[in-house]
Amino acid sequence: MNYNWDWNIFFKSTGIGSEIYLDWFVSGLGWTIAVALVAWIAALAIGSVLGVMRTLPGKVLPAIATAYVELFRNVPLLVQLFLWYFVVPDYLPEATQVWFKQDLNPATSAYISVVVCLALFTAARVCEQVRTGIQALPRGQSAAALAVGFSIGQTYRHVLLPQAFRIIIPPLTSEFLNIFKNSSVASLIGLMELLAQTKQTAEFSANIFEAFTLATVIYFVLNMSLMALMNLVEKKVRIPGMMGGAK
């Protein structure tokens, strides 16, 4: 096929100010990381609370958490994003609405919407992992904690969660990677993250393959680094004497 390869394209001017195409990728990567990391921290916090709720005795709290999971896991991510970006703001008080839609920098308002959206979506998935992790623990653990006078809160905080989280590091790692991939939905509401910048480069330069190849490489390296990071975390918190643990 008569494609014109030009790997120098990334160092060529975009025609906007003094920017080169590589600048777009750098800024896109920055947004991708900013979206994914913040959403992940929020998802981890919310998902953990929900996961604990699902394992509590009683009826009401587990039911609330279950309903949350069903709702957020089953509505497609894109639909949720459009709701957070286009629909929800219309129900804010008039002044807040004007502020959110017009005074705020559009990149900021898109950023807020996408972080909220990804955080709540991923929280439902984290919730399920946390629940599984807690339920995988021997029942004796909570009995032992309660028997020494711990409250339910202390039992979770000091005994159940530290163990549950260790168990679920591998599935959480894949959720962590997913949130980076899912962050590309941000491009649909005009946030110029990595995928958006890639498409823009492809459109502007007509060097489609170079642009997508670079994006692939960046996502790949990002993935590998995150995986290495999580491996490190897993090693760091590994319990001595347990399977594969340090001797």
């Binding site: 096929m1 008569n2 494609y3 906007i16 839609k101 491009s187 005009g190 502007f204 007509a206």
Partner: protein
């Protein structure tokens, strides 16, 4: 890392070359296969889009594309030449032409220098100006009025590039939103997130026709650029290019293009029976009178 990059590059290049190599010209290929493959869009109203029949595109560019098919039939003496359709997107249209999947793409593709490095363009089939759409009550008349405002445009378009460049050069302090498609850009305008929408005027008229209250909106401002749309075909295929260009030129010369234009821009079009009411611009009239396959920047 160096190794992975090289690996990926190799993979991409290999897959690119694995596609049918086009040693023979397009006409030979059509002749031997008995099929011409037309590239079309799904939502470039009214240029090339799908309305009631999901297997067959319609539109202004498509009607011109069919004129070319007629010419090919005549040239190859193949009255029974089959037509196959292949949907393309803005990302896939260039590679699909290059690798031989699509023989001729007619949609709303701007002829520019970057793309000329990858594909050949027919003579121009349309000319647009990049302008603004805004609410009639917004008080915005032209680009200088946009200082410090939120302005939306569609990602990956020339308007986006022009708007960003204008913002950088003239320090206008605009907040530029890049929406994913024209429909979403208009949604940004309608929902009050942006005060103006910069885009090809023809597309602006298309969005306006779809609005709940078309009367609320106005297309305004001095065109910031002119762009010529062309059909895309493979580079270095003079025989095929000649058939394509001649067919289009003949349509221009006979005045038939006016009928096709009126059908799509001055009368109700499917699927909703909207009328774009977009009269032919002087620039396009000049192009019809003097066809060229150059991009607007070269003129």
């Amino acid at each position: 890392m160096r190794f992975t990059t090289r690996l990926l590059t190799t993979a991409v290049i290999a897959s690119a070359f694995a596609a049918p190599a086009m040693a023979e010209g397009t006409l030979d290929k059509i002749k031997s296969s008995g099929v011409i493959v037309l590239g079309h869009r799904d939502a470039s109203i009214p240029f090339s889009y799908l309305a009631n029949d999901p297997t067959k595109p319609i539109g202004y560019s498509h009607d011109l594309q069919l004129k070319v098919v007629e010419a090919v039939k005549k040239q190859l003496k193949m009255p029974n030449l089959q037509v196959r359709y292949n949907l393309v997107t803005s990302q896939t249209r260039i590679p699909l032409v290059q690798n031989g999947t699509v023989d001729l793409e007619c949609g709303s593709t701007t002829n520019n220098l970057e793309r000329q490095k990858q594909v050949a363009f027919s003579v121009g089939i349309f000319e647009i100006g990049t302008r603004l759409m805004t609410a009639k009550t917004s008080g915005i008349k032209d680009f200088p009025d946009l200082k410090g405002k939120n302005v939306v445009t569609t990602a990956g378009t020339t308007s986006e590039r022009l708007l960003k460049a204008m913002n950088a050069e003239k320090q206008m302090g605009m907040n530029i939103i890049s929406a994913k498609d024209h429909g979403e850009s208009f949604l940004m305008l309608e929902s009050g997130r942006a005060v103006a929408f910069m885009m090809d005027d023809a597309l602006l008229y298309g969005e306006m026709a779809k609005a709940k209250n078309p009367g609320n909106w106005v297309v305004t401002g001095k065109p910031q650029s002119f762009e010529i749309y062309g059909c895309m075909l493979r580079k270095e295929d003079p025989a095929f290019k000649k058939v394509v260009d001649d067919a289009l030129k003949a349509t221009f010369k006979s005045g038939e293009v006016n009928k096709i234009y009126s059908k799509w821009f001055m009368a109700p079009v499917p699927p909703k029976g909207l009328n774009l009411n977009f009269p032919m611009s002087d620039e396009f009239k000049a192009l019809v009178a003097k066809p060229t396959d150059k991009s607007a920047e070269e003129m």
